[in-house]
């Protein structure tokens, strides 16, 4: 019973980790974008663009590198459209984002038509079958305490492919970038108060373009995970609304890349925990533990985070100060 539970928990955590990858990478991308003061609701569209371009190239070339590059370029093109419209043309960010989602989904589904049902080619599959951190535990399996703990950690967190660890590395990198680098400081300043940033000599327009493009490219990588690694084939609307969960998650983790790793894991776990709980008859009777109800939790929790940020007498940081406010130097 005891070990049975541990094994199940480890497997559950491992699934949650796998499910959370596109959420995490997308959240990192949207975090970069929003930190520059741009609410880009085109995440779903950019994920789809990245997924289709990357998968198409993977199928054609059997090259992981080219596939990643194609995903970056595809979603980057979508982000560029958004940047031109919202930064230079000062179009409404919400409407532009929605348009980008419709456009990106359309382009992706059209492109994907040619590869429906195809699987990733052998070299790509082999690459993502690698488990670089998987440890050989045969030596300590029977050591009391240490053995089972190591086994649990290994089963839950160390038997994943490169994409998973790449995502975590990206989160760490981004956290370092935002906190410790000059460019990160400038990015935060642009999103908080572009007029102050401008007066300090920061190139506001260039910074916004860079952040939107980089953020969009990350969304593309988030999308590519779905056909290339997770589902391993192409179907219509393959990202399945994860772009919208990302928008929620960014708020939930308060624009923080480190918290994003935990937030994504939590949302990933919530996406599957209901099915697990069905194994426990004493819980499955209650509707509160049904997967269908649990599916609402991420959004409810995000609403709560949104409301709490504004509630109370002393208001805390409520996200980038100039989020979705257009900036025009000579407007007065």
């Amino acid at each position: 019973m005891e070990t049975g539970f541990a094994v199940m928990a480890a497997l559950f955590l491992a699934s949650a980790v796998r499910i959370s990858v596109p959420l995490l990478v997308g959240t990192l991308g949207e975090t970069v974008t929003e930190r520059a003061g741009h609410l880009n609701l085109g995440v779903e569209g950019m994920m789809m663009l990245g997924a289709s371009a990357g998968f198409l190239v993977a199928v054609r070339t059997d090259s992981v590198l080219l596939a990643l590059l194609a995903a970056i370029l595809g979603s980057g093109a979508g982000a560029l459209l958004y940047a031109v419209l919202t930064v230079t043309f000062r179009a409404n960010q919400v409407v532009t984002g929605l348009a980008l989602t419709i456009f990106g989904t359309g382009v992706a589904n059209t492109l994907g038509k040619t590869v429906v049902g195809e699987n990733p080619p052998p070299a790509v599959q082999a690459f993502f079958a690698l488990k670089p951190l998987h440890a050989d535990l045969s030596g300590i399996r029977d050591v009391p305490v240490l053995g089972p703990v190591a086994g649990f950690v290994d089963a839950a967190f160390l038997q994943h492919n490169v994409y998973v660890y790449g995502a975590v590395a990206l989160a760490l990198l981004l956290a370092w970038f935002l906190r410790r680098t000059r460019a990160g400081l400038h990015l935060r300043a642009i999103g908080e108060n572009p007029a102050a940033a401008d007066a300090s000599g920061i190139r506001v327009i260039a910074g916004k373009y860079a952040a939107i493009l980089a953020g969009g490219m990350m969304c593309g990588l988030a999308g590519l995970y779905m056909p290339l690694v997770h589902i391993q084939t192409w179907t219509d609307n393959i990202t399945g609304g994860r772009g919208w969960i990302v928008v929620a998650l960014v708020i939930f983790v308060r624009w923080d890349p480190l918290k994003a790793t935990l937030g994504a894991l939590l949302f990933g776990a919530l996406a599957i925990v209901g099915f697990l709980l069905q194994a426990y008859p004493q819980l499955s009777g209650s509707i509160l533990f049904s997967q269908y109800v649990i599916d609402m939790y991420p959004y409810l929790m995000t609403l709560l985070a949104l409301v709490l940020a504004n509630a109370g007498r002393k208001k805390g940081w409520q996200g980038p100060g100039a989020l979705s406010v257009p900036y025009f130097r000579e407007e007065r």
Binding site: L185, A197, G201, G321
Partner: protein, 527 residues
Amino acid sequence: MPYVHPEQDPAERRRIDPAIEMEGISKAFGSVQANRDVRFTVRHGEIHALLGENGSGKSTLMNILSGIYQPDAGTIRLRGREVVFRSPRDSIELGIGMVHQHFKLVEPMTASENVAMGTGDGLSRSRAKAAERIRDYAARFGMPVDPDKKVADMSVGEKQSVEILKVLYRGADILVLDEPTAVLTPQEIEHLFAILRRMREEGASIVFISHKLHEVLDLCDRVTVLRKGETVGTVDVAGTTALRLIEMMVGRAVDLSIERPPVGADGPCLSVRGLTVRDALGVAKLDGVSFDLAHGEILGVAGLAGSGQKELCESIAGLVHPQSGAILFHERDIVGRSPREIIRMGISMSFIPEDRLGMGLVASMDIADNIMLKDYALYGGFLLDRGSARRKAQSIVDRLAISTPSIFHPVRKLSGGNIQKVILGREIDLSPKLLVTAYAVRGLDIHSSYTIYHLLNEQKRKGVAILYVGEDLDVLLELCDRVMVLCGGRVTGIVDARTSRKEEIGLLMTGVTGDAPVPAGAGEGKA
């Protein structure tokens, strides 16, 4: 970063070339000409005051110098060489540092982040090094700033220190301070002056924007005065007096020949007693203001911008809730009543903000829709009474000779004079008993202004009590019966407009009250 001219000895060069020369600078925002052919020169190592009433174009000129605005015409020379700024970045690179009136700081970040932001190369930044340099500067100029404190948690004085540190950190040797004392306590002001003198000793050139005469006389070496966007002249502080500067600021008295009907004897209308309004931070915007206004009288309100005019108007209109005091209208206190109740009592307020359309009009709607803004709710029923609004609009357009293609033209597209006629026409059409009007002739040409004066006098004859908040002292003195002067939210005097002189009001506006001696040629005058 001293500038080295290829041909000449740097010291020699510094002696000849001014630090800043701005010539023929013009800048318009839409139809408002903020700067017209302005000339402005600052020498090396001096504190140079830029003096002028609000709206005289000081901030625009300095925003051009710091690269935020691009001039429509004119040239800028820095240390003898012509430059063109495309962005604040260019200006910073050439050693100009601007301390903005409204601080340009990122509130959730620390002092050190704010100071270091936008400087240096390379990817990583050393927080320790930045903090170290900040402590150095802070110690050198006596500014106690904690590099790790968040700006949001700082006092106004601390924030200003951060702004100044930011400028020093970038190695600026030309400093522009836009009304730096407006938000400071007297002690903080003294402290700031000590810092600025210290910087002058180290060779910096400082532009000090202010409209407080005693500060200018106390601190600065030379003064350039702007009026209505144009340069009036530049004088040495050592050879001038407060009175002379006031004259330059407000201009010589002009006879406008505005008609002034006698005050009707209709009894009191409005009595304000001890009115105090504080903003969200607890700063008093109005401080114990008391006055009376009779029917058939025009009471002028003079004061530099931000002296409490807006709060006074909004309190009377019910938009702002005063912390203490009473506003008695026909002996009934209206404090705490809703704006709509106040409108129904016959009190009309029109405030023309700087952009004209911010409050009082709905820019994208047509004239007819704007005419019914105040009284649409007075009729019963679910639907708007468009027919009568149209008739009213047409009659106002005809009566005030508003030039517009039709009453269905969006007000945004009207010229400034016509926009103001629409507002005033609407307010008068409500047959108010009390008419509060602020900046009614702002930006208008002479002809339109006289139309407005005429309208107001017509109302005065009907026995309407009028509170006229104005900018032009000549107009205040000729149109109004009495003039109340506000300074920093207090009443510094209520004078009879028939017998007072402009300079008298000018002194009251800058807080030089009564018979306090004006120090002639004050200031330390070191060059």
